[in-house]
Amino acid sequence: MKLKFAIVVFPGSNCDHDAYYAVKQVLGQEAEFVWHKEASLRGANVVILPGGFSYGDYLRSGAIARFSPIMPRVAEFAAAGKPVIGICNGFQILLEAGLLPGGMRRNRHLKFICEHVNVRVEQSDTPFTFKARVGQVLRIPIAHGEGNYYADKETVTGLEKNRQIIFRYTSSDGELDDICNVNGSTAAIAGICNAGRNVVGLMPHPERACEPVVGSADGRVILESVLASFTDDSTAQVGLR
């Protein structure tokens, strides 16, 4: 059975084609673009909010996109426990929509950064990390100007306690190191999940790291995890379905 991925296209999304290609050509699954004004997610199994500059990001990143007509459908989809992943601008939209806690600030040196970074998988009991190993270091690109994750102390404590921090910026050896936390994120957070664990947001771009020819295939495990979460029996044991 092929899974159907809905890739939501906001005005200004620009990694929508990349996500589509990764899902369809690399993973061999079904993918459909869903325009942000559409009324339904077309029966998709997985929702991707892709990267880009929705509405130009002239206000806070994601602050306008969260009002798009499709967003209530995304919220319902998430509330039903189905898998949603927000990548980069998609993550920012999830934050603005309140589907994930926290917010984003400008990168600490105030410049856009595009490069491969190392992110450590912190938890494997989400649909997007299920095939990864805790402690595994993935080499995946980032490309953002506002990826400096911020949450207040109480929120971060809550995230830690509920094991909602899913990815952290580390060295290639998986060591926490201030220099590796290139954008200055609180607690070196690169990605988090919601309390229900089915909604994941991250700044790095797994869809850009699905083939060795583009520099890394480490991002595949994130997309392949969600496939496995539908088919693999062991998912039942970690409460993914």
Partner: protein, 745 residues
Amino acid sequence: MIDQDAIEAHGLTADEYRRILDILGREPNLAELGIFSVMWSEHCSYKSSRRHLQRLPTKGARVLQGPGENAGAIDVGDGVAAVFKIESHNHPSFIEPYQGAATGVGGIIRDIFTMGARPIALLDSLRFGLLDDPHTRRLVEGVVAGIAGYGNSIGIPTVGGEIAFDESYAGNPLVNVFCLGVAKTDALIMGRAEGVGNAVYYVGAKTGRDGIHGATMASAEFDENSAEKRPNVQVGDPFMEKLLLEACLEVMQTDALIGIQDMGAAGLTCSTCEMGARGESGIEIDVQHVPQRETGMTPYEIMLSESQERMLFIVRQGREAEVERIFEKWDLHAVRIGQVTGDGLLRVKDRGTIIAEIPNKALVDDGPIYDRPAEEPVDLGVRQDLDLASLCPPPAPIDAFTALLASPQISSKRWVYRQYDHMVRTNTVVPAGMGAGVVRLKGTNRAIAFSVDGNGRYCYLDPYQGAMLAVAESSRNVACSGALPVGATNCLNFGNPERCDIMWQFSRAVDGISEACRALDIPITGGNVSLYNETNGEAIHPTPVLGVVGVIDNADRILGRVFRNEGSIVVLVGESRVEFGGSEYLKVMHQLVRGRPPIVSLARERALQKLVVAAANDAVIESAHDCSEGGLAVALAECCFQSGGLGIDVVLPGQKIEGHPDLGVVATLFGETASQIVVSLSESQADSFCARAATVGVPVLKIGRVEGTRLRIKVDSALVIDVPVIEAEQIWETGLSRHFAHEAA
């Protein structure tokens, strides 16, 4: 009434004004004068350069579209066309670096998607003054941020480019942007207006008072009052352009569109009369329908505004609603502002009253063309004279080597390209900062490689040789990625053409480009001329920038510059001579721009490029890197950098300079002889590769091996450079970024 002051204020000469009187058979009104002035400006009319540009080769079996349209197009196979062009935004970037550079990116992207192509890659060629000047650093920061701000937002990767620094650009930075897109060969769209009664539509940003006379500004030199021109620089909106891009590509999927053109320089004026002239049609518009951002705009202002992110297009009769619906989907409101007529006139109305009526052809094709006097600069002989004795005693080779690695011109450009999204669209298969940009073509087995190159110092010393060297280097960079060079675009940056020495530089450079492009079989499919790059009478170095495009038929055979395997044999393809003229060595170690630039043999160049492309295609070689600024020593070092610490042990045959043996060593290491490529390959392939080179008359020399973790270079028997790769790489890595050290890495 038009008086002398009005004519002068519009930058028109008395002769040009008489020509207008002849064409119209009457006196123009102010709006008409404004329309003529922008269309006949240097920027739009190419009046000083047009005669010379005719010498460029523009035809070839693969050329689908040559000069004259919004961009050129080349057939790359599999029914795919590569659509590309380079354009300058020098003057605006000096006045307001962020917006100047950003709108330069926006403008060239529009030229590409206007042709029906999806833009997939950007490159930049940048020139600034020296980085110890805080004003230059501010310009660099602003320009890089502007390019990033626009390209990143719209989602087109900036995959590479070049940046250089020289005092001559201190008052006139160069910002040249290259964009490449892909289309189906049978789906290219042209900028022409045809079919009487078809509707003329306007879509995009509203028209404001920004950028009025931008084209005229770009056609004059600067002085100390240039900052007053800041209101002439437009402000970019990449989000609006992203919507336009997607909506236009969607509309182009239908056959409802007759023609389309962006409103760039000279805005609504240029797009209307150019489309009309190409289609041999008339165009009638009423400015009351043009969406306006400000109240009280006059027809004159509306016609001359250079507000960004606006498109003009012609829709087939009866299909208007369908087209309007597609734009509505993208929250864009396309408005009908007029129609195509059969009388060949540009007729502008304001609420029904005729404001201007001018033959389209008069504006586009019948402008003045000048054969400006050209004369060799009087001091050329002095520039070309290099006294070798004055370079003695030379510094220790290792000191010169580290100084060159630390030079911002040679050092890593990571500080720049890290700010650009160079990966979006997931086609970038050669990382940024590694020579030519290479993108794969999804759905085919092919890839396209492209490079932008120019060397102002060489052209200052000899514009003819310098221009040939620019073509050769750009083409060689493309060949080093394994791609066969198939076409080119050029951006010609020069000073004031009314000066005969500048005109001589221009003419000689065009000769050099023509000859090299013919010899290397890479036709020019379009480009841009930027003149008047002067401030207070000081011209920039003549800087023709070439953008060469190549095709790799088998994307598995893409080459990089970095050594891949310990134990591989290092072969020098080509042959060094004593050539110091215009080199980075002279500039860095002696603060000199003197001598004659390297001599390039185009027959040798062509044979050498073909050899490397064929060897890449047959998977014979593992890496290839062009030798350019900094000479062989720097080229070899760059092959080691980013390899994970691989070193080399090589021996170079020393150049002999009568009476100055030490200088011979320096010439061997840092001379910049053209037509040299460093390749690496396995031991088992080395002999057959060398034999193959011999059959095509290309000299090759096995110079050593990839081994250890040190850079060890001998000249004859003397070990002259011996340094850990990691140490050299650290110097190279920080050579540019250290100038911006107030911010951490």
